[in-house]
Subunit: 346 residues, 3 copies
């Protein structure tokens, strides 16, 4: 630890190097802010994805989705300081570098740093009254092909906090139903005529990219099927390709005592199919409770993309290291920042 | 009757004492304004609920939900004047006494009187152009775990009439589905990060109270299961505990000739289960039609929480004593008043 | 062709007389703008409907819905110029002639011309920033008894582009469900208390007219069952009653080479019932592809109400004569114009 350049994320004031234990893969768009703090420390900018993690737990070497896991001993993972001496290298009013937000890999560290600066401004806007009208007159369409109320409300809240307006649909499948059979491209060509930016959730991998290729207005990917939900084998390859060290372990207590971030997630029942016995076994395996808290470092945090079931016990909530509700709130600021950047620039 | 302090409710100008015939229990949030005028006259402030009624009808002593009813002779119920000499004892800008609106029992007469004053201002706002922007920059989340379009639209209209904005969800069950299993408390902690006030409808009794206990922002109960839909036995006990006289009768014509308010409601088919015969019998038993109007007093009103089926005939609608559509509109003003009071105070 | 008075529709600059080939009946509210250009040329104003078409194709004389078709030889259909020397004969601020918009027959040519002038202003408003606030403080309720996301979003976009606000319901059937049994009239009386204008889609023919008769605020018909979706026999009778010549043909190529507008539509599978074989035969019969484009006149356009399936091939999209996405966008401007006219006048 040092006092040199610190994480701009309000969760980690003063922290400069991170060891992250991510218990399973989760959706990037719900964790955007958090991954900033899970950047493994490398001198040059690297691409980020939700698969950037240091340690990963699986119940007794048996991966629920049929792969064979290996338990590796936990090593110290010494990180350099994350440095972003000049995070805001972009002029106010300058055009945003990205036309669409489709995947985490689009961002390098300098853009991320600058986005977090904007997110911090957004936090001030949200907390003050009267609220900003930066996006007054702008219309966002939330084109959700499958419902995701939490994600949708977060984007809509972000837009409305900036004075913008929203067109909502949660049953967009109707556009492309078997009965009607319209292509995604045709739908996008219609919706772009009604709005200034599209936030899309789709059930098919690659749909967001197709929408962005068609639309003349910005598209934000709020999830498209298994896309941006990479499997463990993807993650390992990706980390190795970037020269990032990682390990697997099945000893939560040992890892928790060393990590800066314990990133817990819901065990997704739907992945176990008929094997309800395996699900139940996995479910109880790694629970973050007061015992885990007790051995965690003082500055460390517990994160979770929500919703949670039993994998974090409720009595953890009151601990200042329980960061998951702050995390959801920070997601709002990031969404406000992205909408602002895509529509009116830096 | 006297000319002394009058009901501030626009329905009852000049009326000072009321005999109310409520034909069955209904939802409090749809009748807020109306119950003001159904307050049995007592010198000291009393708590109000939708169960405050004077007379109640059941088909030939047989209660559809299996209880045994008794027919009682109708007595005159002499009321004192409702007095609220100084209804507006609250300073403009002063904080509202309530943090949440969960049940009718939270209100005493002085608060109710003052709320009705604010509702009257809201009526002016709604009728004038350009409309008020009192709540500009505020965000209301309508978190409905079961759909209730009428109630939702009324709240959303109230918010938007005051310049506020709305996040809508009618499928909030998704948040807490068996598959995902999130607790109400966790959902509230997320939604409170996106909005300034939550209007919630839930299928479980007590859910609104739990939400209010969790949230750091105001919660308005727009119905939570059988909560605030008390059964007849509750009502009797409650009235007796407050020392309020009441009677039951099966003679609609006699009661209608004496009452100030005939509060009709829909007979809820879903309560009869398989006994469709009992439902059909009950359905035709007490119909407010032109014959009933003929014997009603000139100043009396017919109220109904809507939707109505056949229990009030359509030819009653044109009579000035048919108050049910005015009642729905007044519900809008009350909701505007409550939103204003909870968000910015008196 | 002449240089005299031209179509104000941006699709047809300079075009003065039209021969239209409409391949099947479609919904008027999606085609509003387009029908302007499909007005058969008559010296005196005529009423318009979506059934105004010149040529109509059916697969080999067999009409899918069981009627007997006849193939007629194609004749030249010489039109006079559409003349609207003084389209804007209405004073700014003057009250709009119509209280509701229920059917295309309400419009005569002079009103249509003036509406198109307003639509052109709306196009400027939509393209400029900051956007207009003409309808600030006004509330539109979209009361949809059956979902139609595209239509709903278009109306909501129109309202919000003018600074107005929206109350949305896509499950309005709940209002009038068998269980609750409320009449449309009662629903309208409640909703008109919450909003300033109602856009309604209903599953029953005539519902829009009933709603308009009840409401004291404007009602716009966004489709009511088979209403405004006239059958072919209706169309023929209507055209004959107006003295308009028409023909039927099954030779797409010949017609396409002569027409100014090829109005293609989706073949509605739901009309074929069990006869999937007939559907598939009909489906492939008349496809607008690059071969059709090749023989079409240079100034002609291909229109479609969307969504499209295979009846126009995707490689047609890039041709400047492919007007269907412009058509959807123009629908937005028309809706903006109608909302402005109904709420604040000319």
């Amino acid at each position: 630890m040092s006092s040199s350049p610190v994480c701009p994320c309000s969760l980690h004031k003063g922290a400069v190097g991170f060891r992250v234990a991510a218990i399973s893969a989760t959706k990037w768009h719900q964790q955007f802010c958090c991954f900033f703090s899970s950047v493994p420390c490398k001198p040059s900018p690297i691409s980020l994805s939700n698969s950037v993690s240091i340690s990963r737990f699986f119940p007794e070497n048996r991966l629920p989705w049929g792969h064979t896991g290996r338990s590796l001993p936990i090593n110290e993972n010494q990180c350099n300081a994350i440095s972003f001496e000049n995070p805001c290298s972009f002029q106010v009013g300058e055009k945003f570098q990205l036309e669409d937000v489709i995947e985490a890999q689009q961002f390098d560290r300098s853009i991320l740093s600058a986005i977090f600066e904007v997110a911090r401004e957004m936090e001030n806007i949200e907390k003050n009254s009267p609220r900003s009208q930066i996006l007054k007159g702008y219309l966002m369409a939330t084109l959700f092909y499958e419902p995701s109320t939490r994600t949708r409300l977060s984007f809509e809240s972000a837009m409305k906090h900036l004075g913008g307006e929203v067109l909502t649909t949660e049953n967009a499948r109707e556009f492309s139903s078997a009965a009607k059979g319209e292509t995604l491209e045709d739908t996008i060509r219609t919706i772009e005529g009604y709005s200034d930016i599209i936030v899309m959730r789709h059930f098919e991998s690659g749909a967001a990219r197709r929408a962005a290729a068609t639309a003349s207005i910005p598209v934000i990917n709020a999830g498209d099927g298994p896309g941006q939900h990479p499997t463990q084998d993807d993650i390992k390859d990706y980390l190795m390709s970037k020269g990032i060290e990682w390990e697997e372990s099945d000893d939560l207590m040992e890892v928790a005592s060393k990590c800066d971030v314990v990133y817990q997630t819901r065990i997704q029942r739907e992945r176990f199919g008929e094997r309800i016995d395996l699900y139940e076994e996995a479910q109880g395996k790694y629970i973050v409770d007061r015992d885990v808290l007790r051995i965690m470092q003082k500055h460390a945090v517990v994160m979770h993309p929500l919703p949670r079931l039993d994998e974090i016990t409720v009595d953890v909530d009151a601990d200042p290291r329980a960061a998951y509700f702050r995390q959801a709130k920070n997601g709002l600021y990031i969404r406000m920042a992205l909408l602002k950047l895509l529509l009116v620039g830096w």
